[in-house]
Each structure stands twice: as structure tokens, then as C-alpha cells.
Homo-oligomer: 188 residues x 2
């Protein structure tokens, strides 16, 4: 047995990112990624199903954290407040915009990866709606609130990884929600 | 040359729907679909890239209609009003909930088809945002308005295909937007 690796999945993700940027996503094999990380292919497959998933390893954790965040809010608060509070809590994941920007550039360049990203976002929306329904929020309120939460998340994230941005993620979530509110109430 | 077919693409789509429901999506080939429609495989490929696309043949037309609808609204109206007016115009496509319900059940059962559906919705959101920006709407307003429009569309559509629904699509769009407004303004 090799020596214990404290953060094998993090090293694999970093190695994958580097290789996708250097030689492209298609040209990179799992063997390349494992080699760059100084690990075996077997270790790779202990953490990730395929070379797409290595870029989305954190998505499950992110979703679980967001849903736990929602469940930690006051259930008597307006549903949109529960969801926005949960989205703000993703702040703890988003501390290095440079890394996220690089990752997003790789995803944007590959239809396969864009599809996976859309699926993760749809899954987050469904999870928000489920969590709200389990707290007694009725339809269509639960679904609309969940979709609004995902919209705020997406827009805040895009602003956060913008080259010119200097603000924190939670701050941008707060702002994007205020903007959504102003957008929806602008109609006569 | 065979006799001219007035609605070959519609017949292919109908045949595909029947076969997907009868024998499953995976088990159905393009040859099966063409045979059921009384057409050749060559005709199939004149209209559709693959057997997934046959279920999404109308999506392009739907998106073009929605964007044309948006461009037909008063550019000085609030952006959300432009988008919701455009979504209401999809009413002309949604006249047979039974057909849409059957199609949606097939999509729901196949990850491949669900992915394609998510891509079409993301594409609609991007097209709304583009159309708004080209009318001078700034970011993040354009993106948030576009996402809000897609959320209203999705929720209205789900309600419209519900077994118990008796209301028209445009009516449900109007309602879903009112609900989204009430959802976002519920926060303190």
C-alpha cells in the first residue's frame, strides 16, 4: 500500500484542470490525470466515475451544504428567504475566483461538460423544491421559489468569477436577489 | 420519387412517440420510426439528426417564436413584461396537453432526453438574455429577467400538462408570473 494521501481527490481535480487547460479535455485520459497527480488510475476511480465527473466532484457536497443550509433556516420565514440564505451559505465554497474562472472556461469549451453543469443546476433546483415541499410549502410556490433561487445562484456566480469583480460571493447573492425582486416588480 | 408528404416531420414525431411509449426509447431504431411513419430512413435524416432530436423538433421553432414575440413587444416596457408577453405567446404551440404529457413522460424516463430538454431550456434562457441586451437592457438585469422568464415558462408548462388541469397555457403563464412576483416580494 502506498502512503496515505491526505487529499487525493483534490490533487486529481487540480491535475485534471491543468491537463484540460494544457492539452484539451478530449485529449486527456484518466491515466494522464492519475500520473500528473502522482496516483494510480485505481485511485482515480475510487473518487470519480469518469473524466467529466472530476470537474464536478464538489457539486454533490455543494448541493448537500445548500440543502442543509435551507433546513437550518427558520421554517416560518418566507420561502424565498430560506432559499437565498442557503445560497449565501455557498460563500464558504467560493473563496478562489481564479480557480472557478479557470474551471468555468474549460466547461464552457465542451458541450459534454456544459451538459453535466446544466444537470447539476437542475438537480439543485429539484432539491430546493423538495426541501421546501417537505416544509409544507405548496406548489407552484415551491418550484417557483426554487427556480428563483437557482437563477440568483447562477447570476451571482457569473458575476463573482468576472475578471473585474472584487466582491465576495455572499454579497453578490444579496445583490442579485435584490435585482431579481426589482425586476419582477417592475411590471405594471 | 415517392408522393409528396404534407407533414413528414409531424408523422415521424408521432411515430417516434408511439414507439418510445410501446417498446421504449433505447429499443427503438430510426428504421422502426421511418417504417411506422411510412417513410424512409433517408427522409428521417432530412428532418432530424438522431432519434433524440425527433422529440425536440419543435424546440427550435418554439424558441424562434418566443424571441420574435419578445422583439415584437414595446422596448420601453419593463424587461420582465417583454419576456412574460413572449412566453404567453407560446400558447399557440400548446393546444394539446395530452400529447405534451405523453412526450414529457417519455423524456422523464430517459436521462439522455432529460439532458437534451435541459439544454433546450438553457438555450432559451440565453436567447432571452441576448434579445434583452440587444435592446439595451444591462447586466445583471438581462440575465435575471431571462432566468425568471424561463422559470415562469417551466412552471406554467408543468401545471398545464397536469392531469387535473383544465386551464389554458397563457392563463397559467400569467398566474405563474403573479406567483413569482409574490414569492420574490415576500422577503423582508
Amino acid at each position: 500500500m502506498g502512503r496515505w494521501q491526505p487529499d487525493a481527490s483534490g490533487r486529481l481535480a487540480q491535475a485534471a484542470m491543468e491537463l484540460y487547460a494544457e492539452q484539451g479535455f478530449e485529449a486527456t485520459t484518466v491515466a494522464d490525470i492519475a500520473e500528473r497527480a502522482g496516483l494510480t488510475e485505481r485511485t482515480f476511480f475510487r473518487y470519480f466515475a469518469d473524466k467529466r465527473e472530476v470537474l464536478f466532484g464538489g457539486s454533490h457536497l455543494l448541493q448537500d451544504t445548500l440543502i442543509a443550509g435551507l433546513r437550518g433556516t427558520d421554517p416560518s420565514a418566507p420561502p424565498i428567504e430560506q432559499v437565498v440564505t442557503a445560497v449565501e451559505a455557498a460563500d464558504q465554497f467560493f473563496t478562489d475566483p481564479g480557480y472557478s474562472r479557470q474551471r468555468q472556461a474549460i466547461i464552457a469549451g465542451h458541450p459534454d461538460l456544459r451538459e453535466r453543469e446544466l444537470i447539476k443546476l437542475a438537480s439543485l433546483g429539484a432539491a430546493f423544491a423538495d426541501a421546501l415541499r417537505s416544509r409544507g410549502v405548496k406548489e407552484p410556490t415551491a418550484s417557483l421559489t426554487a427556480e428563483a433561487g437557482v437563477a440568483v445562484f447562477k447570476v451571482a456566480f457569473e458575476r463573482w468569477i468576472d475578471e473585474t469583480n472584487t466582491r465576495g460571493f455572499a454579497d453578490l447573492v444579496h445583490d442579485s436577489f435584490a435585482e431579481l425582486k426589482s425586476v419582477t416588480t417592475a411590471a405594471g
